[in-house]
Each structure stands twice: as C-alpha cells, then as structure tokens.
Symmetry: C2
Subunit: 210 residues, 2 copies
DNA sequence: ACAAACTGACTGATCGATCGTTTTTTATTA
DNA sequence: TAATAAAAAACGATCGATCAGTCAGTTTGT
C-alpha cells in the first residue's frame, strides 16, 4: 500500500527538482554536490535517490525545458496570419521569457546545459530538440512569407531561422553574465532585422496556394 | 642559475596549455582531472604544478582568448572606410574563425567558459572583456554610419552591436553541437541583416564632422 | 500491524595538490 | 676535453578531502 498519494509523490519530485534547479543555477552541474541538493530540498540523501536514480538523472530532467516549448507552441496558434507578424510575435514571446525575473535560474541552468551538451549525448539531444521546434516554426513562417512574396527569396529560410535563434541564445548569455543589456532597445533592433528580410518592393507576384 | 632558457620554459608552458585545452574541450573544466592533463602533456603531476599554481589557474589562463581579439583588431585597421563595409568585414573575420577546423577545441572551451563565467568572477571578467572590444568596435562603426546618414538613426548602436555579437555566440553553440549549419548561407543572411540597418533613402543630410 | 517512505552514517573511488627523491643541465674546475 | 659540483626541473607515490551512491534501521500513515 502506498503511503502517499500520487499527488504528494509528484509534489516531492518537484520539491527535489526545484532544489536541484537552484543549486545547478548557482554552481553548475558538476560543482554542485548531491549534498547541496539534499540540504536545499530539506530531505535526506536516501529520499532523493527514491525519486531520481542518479545525479545525471537530475541533470537530464532539468536540461529539458518543456515550458518554453509550450510557450512557443502557443505563439504558433497566433502566427497563422501574416508571416512577418508571426516572426515579430515570436520575438515578443522570447523577449518576455528573457526578461522574466522568475526564469533567471532556468536561463542559467540552460547555459550550463549548453556546455554540458558538448559531452553528454542525452543532454545534447534535449538541447538540440529544444531548438528544433522553434526553428521549424520559423522556417515554416519564412517559407510561407517567401512564397507569398513578402520575404526576400535569396536568403535561405533555414539560415534566417538559425540567425534568429542565435540572437536569442546570445542574449541569454549576455543577460545572465550580468551585463546591462537594454533588452527593449535590442528587441527593437531585432524588429528592424526582421523587417530587413522583407522584400523591398511589394513583389506583386503572388502565386496561388497549391 | 636556471637550467632551461626562457624560451624552453615558455614552450613547456604551452605544452601544458595545449594538453589542458584538448582535455577541457573534450570533457569540460570540472570533468577533466589533473591526471588527464598530466597524462596528455606527457609530463608529471609535479611538473605541471611548477608552471601553474592550480587547476583554476589553468582554467583562467584558457578562458582568455587573446588570439581572437587580435584578429578583430586587425580588421579594425581595415575598417577605416565605409562603416557598413566595416561591419561586413567583421562578419567575414568571425565567419572564418568559426569555420576554422583548427579552432574547434578553442570554440568548445569557449562555450565551457561561458558557463563557467556564471560562477567564477575572474572567468566572467575575461569573457565579458573579451566581447567588450568587438562591441566597442561595432558601436563606433555604427555611430559613424549613423552620423554619416548611412545607418538608420532610430536603432541604438549598442543594440546593433549586441545583436551582431549574439548572432555569433549562437552560431558557435549551434556549430559545436554538431548541427549541420550552412555557415555560408547563414553569413549571407547576416549580410542581409546588416544591409537592413542601412537607411533606405540615401539620406542626403550629411553633417560635417565636428 | 504492516509496508512504504524516509533517514543518515557509511563506503569505495576519485579528486586536486604535495613533497621527498631522482634526473637533467649548466658552470666551473682539472 | 673530461670530470665534478650545484641547482633547477621533473617525477610519482601519497595525502586528506570530497564525491556520488548505498543500506540497515527508523518513522509514518493507513
């Protein structure tokens, strides 16, 4: 007979994950000891190992950030209109995520995950898959924009997607290092970047959808 | 009386640094043991500690990448002409650095350094100072371009600099993760981004230099 | 009363760093 | 030129500390 309910069990799990997130955000994966996580969680060593098989298990559980993907997915729903407006919407979503004080720990752990991805195959898969979704979304938007003659056709949609993603990755770094980045001004610059992809002449050639 | 010359001494130092670079690139700072570096260097534990006080000393020595700064400085000399052409030149320099196979280890160590910068003040200072120089260079170019009416005045020069730097930071990540990034296509997209900063109308208003 | 949840002292392994010893090189002497 | 003394350089066995992970025993809720 289980002593605690599934809800309680999940709550304990989250309790440990939150402690681990805070510790990893402060000191990175490999400079954080299990003792730190244990102390912060308020539980004991044994209890933690009831919920996670190993420290690597915890790392992998935190390397995967589903919340952000869901936020992106929501913006997909809105992005069914003008492709370029879709790109702007996407930028807005990420800008908000970037400036949310509550997400500081997640961003820091994310950076540690980027480094860990260089040596841990499972973490790398998590990280790469994590950017695959927004990348595919941007590619779809751009290709639609190019098809409709709104976006320059001489640039690869894939290239545009990677540039936009790179911009946000770089901002996460610069922000987390504590540099005083004027996010608002930078987002304005990114908006100009996106407008730069727009065809200068309206390019009346607009083929019918297949 | 010294047994070995300064040249030999520096050579040994480099020998250790190269071993450490290779090890750190493979496994990160904290997953690399001194024993790994010792073995790779072909020396002994004691010998390594004759040249570096501690493992952290090695980390800090490698977190600072002067070579790249020098390359940027060289491109400064060329950038005395058209500001926008200066930006393109800068992109070319970084694109070359990004695709140089010999620089793979340095790029990977760089990423580990980005994560380490979150918890090690000295490493953070190295990293931040490392991007301060190209940032100042871009700001100078953009402000000159804006002054001459070549670059849109409604974007902050600082913001443009941070966007361009972020792009390259992101590309280093995506490249090192092993994703098949078409660097050439991406650089073409970046070129479009830069052109997007250009004033659409030539903006004849050109004030004389103060 | 019973079984699951939890505890925390404990373990073997591994870490960065040390230091007494050995090797190597150079300046000096024979 | 060959032998020698002296000192720096290099070595590597070894240290205490710390690590992730375990398990026999205790508590807790049903």
């Amino acid at each position: 007979m289980p002593k605690i309910s599934d809800k309680q069990r999940e709550s304990r799990r989250q309790q440990i994950l939150e402690a681990a997130l805070a510790c990893f955000a402060e000191d990175g994966f490999h400079q954080t000891g299990m003792a730190d996580i244990v102390k912060r969680s308020g539980l004991s060593h044994g209890a933690v190992y009831l919920y996670f098989q190993s420290k690597d298990d915890l790392i992998e559980a935190l390397a995967d950030d589903r919340h952000r993907r869901e936020a992106v997915l929501n913006s997909v729903a809105q992005g069914s209109g003008d492709p370029i407006e879709g790109l702007h919407a996407l930028v807005r979503v990420y800008a908000q995520w970037l400036t949310d004080p509550a997400g500081e720990a997640r961003r820091r752990v994310g950076i540690h995950g980027w480094a860990e991805a260089l040596r841990n195959r499972r973490v790398r898969n998590s990280v790469v898959e994590g950017i695959d979704m927004p990348r595919a979304l941007i590619v779809a938007l751009v290709e639609r924009g190019q098809h409709d003659g709104l976006i320059k056709r001489d640039i690869g949609a894939e290239a545009i997607a990677r540039v936009l993603i790179a911009i946000f990755q770089g901002f996460v770094l610069q922000k987390c290092w504590g540099e005083d980045v004027d996010i608002e001004a930078c987002m304005a610059a990114v908006a100009v970047v996106i407008e730069g992809f727009r065809t200068t002449k309206p390019d009346v050639r607009r083929r019918a959808r297949t």
